[in-house]
Amino acid sequence: VVTGRRHDLHLLTGVYAVDALTDAEVAEFEKHLARCASCAEEARGLRETAARLAMATAIAPPPGMCEQVLAAAARTRQLPPPGRKLLPFGMRQQGRWRLTLPRPVAVATVSLV
């Protein structure tokens, strides 16, 4: 998809860094990055350069934009870190020793009364 000759791949660090490739092209180039440490390092550096350019050319957001976002954030739940799933209700932020009874047990206890 990307382009024929192998040495051309090294020139794609810039277009990769600024997301100017299609998804299929990205997938193919990332295979190359996995094998080519110098391209991976260069792509990372170019992405940082693009980020600094974005900062230097910031545009003042419309008034109220950040306030609206902050209000929305206050009522929006955050995602857990990668690889960690949300714990079931009642298990959050407690050590194992503080766990309440598993639900089926609790139900069984109640039904015995």
Binding site: T3, A20, L46, E48, R52, M55, A56, V69, T76
Partner: protein, 198 residues
């Protein structure tokens, strides 16, 4: 406006987000990375600092890609909410916080621009050159950027067009050169810009 990058630094978060928002580089200024690590722990005040520091960068990136002002505001708001929601996935060892956030902004804006029929970068009668594209999208600060201005014209054009959400192939069509030429110019342009820090 500058943002300090101290990759991996973990200074105690005793300064207020307001101090960070000044971004004046004084000792004690909270870095964006540190703020993001606090946001990952649900710190709303730190998130206010993040919005202060990079709200303008996010809006700028989105505005140049989405073009329409009110939609740009909406999409920039979505980006900041994505920062809030997924802050626990930010890894300072992988990239700077600024790079993490602006990449997120660019990708979301490009998805939105593609999804909106007739609002994509390549739609309409078509501009005649990179400067015209940028001028239509509130890009005056891009056009005034000294580092960009110092680049050779073809490299500058490649950077400007991709800042406006053009794919390498769309840029190649507009410029009438092969896509591989755009890739090479963009790479050279970004490498040249690397020595500029503001």
């Amino acid at each position: 406006m500058t943002v300090e990058h101290k990759r991996g630094s973990r200074t105690a978060g005793t300064e207020s987000p307001a101090a960070a928002s000044r971004g004046d580089g004084r000792p004690g200024t909270v870095t964006l990375d540190d703020l993001l690590l606090r946001v990952a722990r649900g710190d709303v005040e730190a998130f206010a600092g993040v919005c202060d520091q990079i709200g303008g960068a996010v809006y700028g990136v989105v505005r140049r890609i989405v073009a329409d002002q009110s939609r740009a505001e909406q999409v920039a708001g979505e980006v900041l909410m994505e920062v809030w929601r997924s802050a626990a996935r930010f890894s300072p060892s992988a990239c700077s916080g600024l790079s993490w956030v602006t990449t997120m902004a660019r990708r979301r804006a490009m998805n939105r621009a593609e999804a909106a029929a007739g609002d994509g970068p390549a739609a309409g009668p078509g501009p005649s050159g990179a400067a015209e594209v940028v001028a239509e999208r509130g890009g005056s600060r891009l056009l005034a950027h000294r580092g960009l201005a110092s680049l050779p014209g073809p490299e500058r054009e490649a950077v400007l067009l991709t800042c406006c959400g053009y794919s390498w192939r769309q840029a190649a069509d507009l410029l009438g050169v092969p896509a591989s030429t755009v890739a090479e110019r963009l790479r050279d342009g970004l490498l040249g810009l690397g020595s500029y820090t503001d």
